[in-house]
């Protein structure tokens, strides 16, 4: 009997010690990275993830935030909304993550915005460009790091309004992103230049294998310029078909992601020149010390040049660490208070996370594709910066939309 009692006592002591030791160690802040890391979208998302991890590793190496280290858990959504949603729930309930980061799929981002509001967990939308994320569906727990379709529309319209084109044709991917971009550009363009006229529209399915019939049909309508609202993997075959048909030489066209490295690198030297495009980031622009250092660090770590996704990953990591730094405690509500209106230094200069709508205000660069002697792919030339103030969504409109 006595021996049993001793055993029990020893056991209690051991358990007590183990429990006691727990809080004495620093807490880890778990972050759930949830995005499509397989299939075509991974060209964009891998850079977000890698840049985010790179930055977080640096913070951890320096001892973390107040001794609290970051731990990153990743989940591959395979671009599926239902799978992503259940993974997000699993991350929140089982892994007990403090926040979610990711999602190139706008539909999933909007679903997560809803979920995170209920669960009171911050969510950083890093690549999904629906304006609804920081617009009408926005809430206290959602933050949009990438430029959104409303900003793309404003920026592109500002650039196109300065050109002499009147008769336009709109063509694009038949899904949320394509329609949102086209609508954004067109509505803003009509405001800036009321005489513009829409000759017609063509919409193709995502993953369209051959754009030649679309291009020849558009050419026969003879527009002054074309707004191409296509994104992701369709950009490359579109540019190829444009080159093969000489489309860019006959009719000028604007395509949001035309100048991005992820689009231009695979097409190589045979990409069409003179295509108008907008982007948040180029590894060669701005030519600042901060950007040069960022590119070198990324290239040394992963052996490839950073695309725009790397910038989004970096900004998210900076915002998160600095918000904790500022909040001084590990508390979600205090973290959000701290991150609202926070400005961080980035390779493209200071970027503010707007307090009112939780939209990161990034500058946008408009340029045309041009061959470069330095690289074996085309680069953006004649880059004009569109300031965040010019492109930022209108706060009054957001208030109205959210009020509904």
């Amino acid at each position: 009997m006595k021996r049993k009692l001793w055993l029990l006592l020893a056991l209690t002591a051991a358990v007590g010690l183990a429990l006691g030791a727990g809080p004495a160690l620093a807490k880890t802040i778990k972050i759930g990275l949830i995005d499509c890391y397989s299939g075509p979208p991974s060209t964009y998302t891998n850079d977000v993830r890698d840049a985010f991890k790179l930055q977080m590793d640096k913070v951890n190496a320096k001892g973390g935030i107040w001794g609290n280290k970051f731990e990153i858990v990743t989940r591959d959504t395979k671009f599926k909304v239902d799978l992503g949603l259940s993974q997000a729930k699993e991350l929140i309930m089982r892994e007990q993550v403090s926040m979610l980061v990711g999602t190139i799929n706008s539909a999933l981002a909007l679903a997560l915005a809803d979920l995170c509001q209920r669960e009171k967990i911050p969510f950083f939308a890093t690549f999904s460009k629906s304006a609804k994320i920081s617009g009408e569906k926005g809430n206290r727990y959602v933050f949009q790091i990438t430029e959104n379709t409303s900003m793309i529309g404003k920026a592109a319209a500002a650039g196109l309004a300065k050109k002499p084109y009147v008769k336009y044709w709109i063509a694009g991917d038949d899904y949320e992103y394509g329609h949102a971009v086209a609508e954004g550009v067109w509505n803003n363009l009509k405001k800036l230049k009321p005489e513009v006229r829409l000759l017609g529209q063509s919409w193709w399915k995502v993953g369209e294998p051959d754009f030649t019939p679309y291009i020849t049909a558009i050419l026969s309508a003879k527009p002054d310029a074309v707004i191409v609202a296509t994104g992701g993997r369709d950009c490359v075959p579109f540019l190829k078909a444009a080159q093969a048909t000489g489309f860019n030489k006959k009719v000028p066209f604007y395509m949001h992601t035309a100048t991005e490295l992820a689009t231009l690198r695979p097409v190589g030297k045979h990409a069409p020149e003179g295509v108008l495009g907008t982007s948040n980031y180029f590894f060669y622009h701005p030519d600042s010390a901060a950007n040069i250092a960022f590119v070198k660090e990324f290239k040394d770590a992963f052996g490839r040049l950073p695309t725009v996704g790397a910038l989004y990953g970096y900004i998210t990591a900076e915002l998160v660490t600095q918000a904790y730094q500022k909040a001084k405690v590990i508390d979600t509500e205090k973290f959000i208070d701290a991150i609202e209106g926070l400005t961080v230094q980035t390779p493209v200069g200071p970027v503010q996370l707007r307090a009112e709508d939780h939209q990161a205000l990034l500058p946008m660069y408009m340029g045309v594709t041009k061959k470069s002697p330095k690289y074996d792919f085309l680069v953006a030339d004649g880059i004009v910066t569109i300031s965040p103030q010019e492109a930022a969504p209108d706060l009054e409109e957001i208030k109205k939309a959210r009020g509904k």
């Binding site: 397989s38 075509p40 063509s202 919409w203 294998p209 030649t212 679309y214 490359v236 093969a244």
Partner: protein, 297 residues
């Protein structure tokens, strides 16, 4: 919006030709699918994956060798690589499954599709790949005032050659005749003392080779990426169904219907062009539920 003004005769002719060049690719891929479906009775869901592998192999070979010769070598090598690979799969796994239930075979090809998808990701990664056509096939020439890409003309010339070759192979050679006989009655063919198993291997290999050839031919016009398989397999199955299961000429007819309604639809009603080929498929199936031409099933 005035619709009719830009629909000139030249524009229509142009769209027709572009549609026919798309038909070429669709025909090459779906004829392979139809062949396997007709003789082996397997709906090969992984057919699209082999098409994707064909495109990736073309990319790798062409960039490895480089230059214009690289492309031509790749165009010849990719179908052979895919054919040999499929032969290995058939001899290694498939041939043990023919006696199984139909559903099992379907499930097997489905899982093969998933495995091949991941294999492509392992070997080539997730970046977009792109290949340029050789200089002589780049750019376009003017056709009644409209640009027509040279590469599409090249496809238009390849299409009939492939169709003729396939016809000759299945109708004029001994192995082709045996394969056709096996499609109708495999027990009878076996009773004649012919090794049906190897006939099946030949047909499977040939069908997959067509998928590889299709992939190789589209490589310069497309984004070589994961996901290519899903797009093509759906279209290929639709084509085979409207053409008549297992009928090669049906595949040609189905591909033409699909390719031409697609390109004409884009000109006539661009906003809703996506639905045109599917409407055509629906109409065909309402009036000829077994397909346009005689099915071998």
């Amino acid at each position: 919006m005035d619709l009719a003004s830009h629909i000139t005769l030249a524009a229509l002719g142009q769209q027709l030709l572009v549609g026919l060049s798309r038909t070429t690719i669709l025909f090459i891929v779906s004829s392979g699918l139809s062949l396997i479906l007709g003789v082996l009775r397997i709906p090969n869901v992984s057919h699209g994956s082999l098409y994707m592998i064909g495109a990736f192999v073309t990319y790798s070979v062409a960039t490895l060798i480089g230059g214009q010769t690289g492309f031509w070598v790749a165009l010849a090598a990719a179908p052979v690589v895919v054919g040999l690979f499929s032969l290995a799969v058939e001899r290694g796994i498939f041939c043990h499954l023919y006696e199984r239930e139909h559903l099992m075979l379907l499930l097997f090809t489905f899982s093969l599709m998933l495995v091949l998808g991941d294999l492509v990701k392992l070997i080539w990664g997730s970046d977009y790949r792109s290949l340029s056509a050789p200089p002589m096939l780049q750019g376009s020439f003017s056709l009644a005032g409209m640009p027509f890409p040279r590469y599409n003309l090249f496809l238009l010339m390849i299409g009939p050659l492939v169709a003729l070759g396939l016809w000759a192979l299945t109708n004029k050679t001994k192995i082709g005749k045996i394969a056709r006989a096996a499609a109708v009655d495999r027990e009878m063919v076996a009773a004649m003392g012919i090794n049906v198993s190897w006939v099946f291997a030949f047909v499977f290999c040939l069908g997959c080779l067509m998928a590889g050839l299709g992939g190789a031919l589209v490589a310069p016009t497309q984004n070589i990426t994961q996901g290519m398989d899903h797009t093509i397999i759906m279209e290929a199955f639709l084509i085979v169904i409207i053409g008549g299961l297992g009928n090669m000429w049906g595949a040609l007819l189905g591909a033409a219907i699909f390719g031409i309604t697609d390109s004409i639809g884009i000109l006539v009603w661009p906003q809703f062009a996506i639905v045109f080929p599917y409407v055509a498929v629906t109409i065909v199936l309402i009036f000829r539920p077994k397909g346009l031409l005689k099915s071998t099933w």
